[in-house]
Amino acid sequence: MASTRTHDTRHDPRPSPDRPVLEVLDLHTYLFTRWGTTRAVDGVSFQLHAGEMLGIVGESGCGKSMLALSLVRLTPEPAARILGGQVLLEGTDLLSLPESRMRKLRGREISMILQDPHQSLNPVFSIGNQMEEAARVHERDVSRPEARRRAVELLKTVHVPAPERRLASYPHELSGGMKQRVVGAMAMTYRPKVLIADEPTTALDVTIQAQYLKLLRELKEQTGVAIILITHDFGVIAEACDRVAVMYAGRIVEQGPVRDIFDRPRHPYTRALLASRPRRDVAMERLAVIEGQPPSLTDLPLGCRFAPRCPYAVDRCREQYPDPYQVSPAHTAWCWRSEEQPWAPR
């Protein structure tokens, strides 16, 4: 499918809800190892519009990182394989492209920020070297001074103080927050359509986290980039995202606007996640904990995957995977009992 761009959304910061920038359809990524087959991403679909920040939230091991890597086709070879589905970036299916064309899109149309800022930058090259390299990847004849200039500009957009001097620094001389900003700047070099942020604040101090999320929001508003924010922390979602998709055991179990999900969660897992946040406004004696463990991705149960831990599960839940229930036009939940209100515990 050829890309059908009628007008350039790159510099148009207005979100356009009718035409998604990224559409993921029924994506499957499995890992084949001697311990078994891990179904890391097992039928994930969602849409992302320009200027929107979509949060993907879930516990460790639910497949979120593998999902991110699948979108850019950098899953660990040879163990991981993307087995099915489509990833449509403005209409072009990324999964069907030859690697040489995919490489040209990475960093330019779709880019990514990794979780640990201390590991993301090459320790033996200076910041300037790595940023200038980013500025020259997709355009062969950019001169050194020009690349430098762009690097300085980019550092300014992410609010790195004294950017000219920072170019000569080495990664180990910068703090975590600063490094993560540099990584963000590199990712935005070509003003990509989609930016994937894989747990960008997890390794940062709490005080720095809020600043960083604010930075992401700014980038979104200024350039119209669509951001996928992956996290395990609902607080981060509340802080920064427009929409959220809750992921469990390789699948999305609920998705919708952030407000809706927070006010009226329709999946027991979402409810449990929300309830387990430590809160100041509500008196809590103990942190609520979700009993049990997520299922092993090599050995998934038939039926709803959350059923073994779900306080509201009934027989049907264990026998048959739930169909999607449309709570409202933008809000979907995959639970047999989402229509019921209020829920009676089992």
Partner: protein, 311 residues
């Protein structure tokens, strides 16, 4: 950085002193040089005179200090075996021969070991990788002297492609350098493979690919530079070993270098030569270690610049 260098230089000097004491002690305590120098039928007065001439009647400690003092001036005394030559000149004469051999072996080691190691990491579990691992295993397990003899038997005796021993024409350097390179290739290959596998698995290499860099650049720039640093130390050790003469190989090939000299001098109890050789070899190792340490520090910005953090 300067402090680092100074400390290491001091340690190196201490090492050299220690080595010289050990060698001196071993040489003197295990036998009296007089037995070597004096003809069997020499009478006691003549023996005493001889002893006085060589300073062998002084207490051991004194003898050592004399030796050390002279050594610092580059005078290692006359060779016992070739009295008209000094130990220093005997060594100097044979050194270039070893250096030739060592240099060729070193070049071979690097040319084969490094690319194979890198490629075997990049193409993990391919046939190339498996072959490389096999070569590495073989190189680490084969006894050098036996390999040398077998190669001579096949290529020199049976096929006649190269001379059987000694320095005779340019082909004569092929077999000995090959044998010497075997262990080095094996070790360097493994080190590079291991180090590259480490770097190829890092997050920053992943990020480099995320930036859209072509795979080749990711490997040869981002993975190689940090990946080449750990093998460097070992490379220094190999280099020294190759350049200071591998005794066993020189013996098998009758290659007239300092390795063979060591054998001859020890058998002839030519102590000045032995001591000089020991000092020379140790000095080479110490200097090489120092160079490698400094290089390591220079290449890794984390060591070079220290740990000041800006936030």
């Amino acid at each position: 950085m300067a402090r680092y260098i100074v400390i290491n230089v001091i340690r190196g000097i201490l090492t050299l002193i220690a080595v010289s004491i050990i060698v001196f002690a071993l040489a003197r305590l295990t036998g009296n040089p007089l037995d070597v120098l004096a003809p069997v039928d020499m009478g006691p007065e003549d023996q005493a005179a001889l002893a006085a001439k060589w300073g062998l009647d002084e207490p051991l400690a004194q003898q050592y200090l004399t030796f050390l003092g002279n050594a610092l001036h580059g005078d290692f005394g006359p060779s016992f075996k070739f009295p008209d030559e000094t130990a220093g000149s005997v060594i100097a004469e044979r050194l270039p021969v070893s250096l030739q051999l060592g240099f060729v072996a070193l070049v071979l080691t690097v040319l084969v070991g490094v690319p194979l190691g890198i490629l075997s990491a990049v193409r993990r579990n391919s046939w190339l990788d498996r072959t490389a691992k096999g070569i590495a295993l073989f190189g680490q397990s084969v006894p050098e002297f036996w390999l040398a003899i077998m190669l001579i038997w096949v290529f020199a005796v049976n096929l006649g492609w190269v001379p059987t021993s000694g320095q005779a024409g340019w082909t004569s350097i092929l077999l000995p350098s090959l044998v010497m390179a075997t262990f080095g290739i094996a070790a360097l290959l493994r080190l590079f493979r291991s180090s590259m596998l480490d770097t190829l698995g890092t997050e920053y290499v992943k990020l480099a690919r995320l930036k859209g860099l072509p795979k080749r650049q990711v490997i040869w720039k981002h993975a190689l530079k940090p990946g080449a640093i750990p093998p460097l130390t070992f490379f220094g050790r190999i280099a020294v070993r190759l350049l200071t003469g591998a005794t066993v190989v020189e013996i098998v090939f009758s290659w007239p270098g300092v390795g063979l000299l060591a054998f001859e001098a020890a058998n002839a109890r030519d102590f000045p030569v032995v001591q000089a050789l020991a000092l020379f070899t140790s000095a080479a190792i110490v200097v090489m270690n120092l160079v490698v340490d400094v290089l390591y520090a220079y290449l890794d910005p984390r060591v070079r610049l220290g740990q000041r953090v800006v936030s």
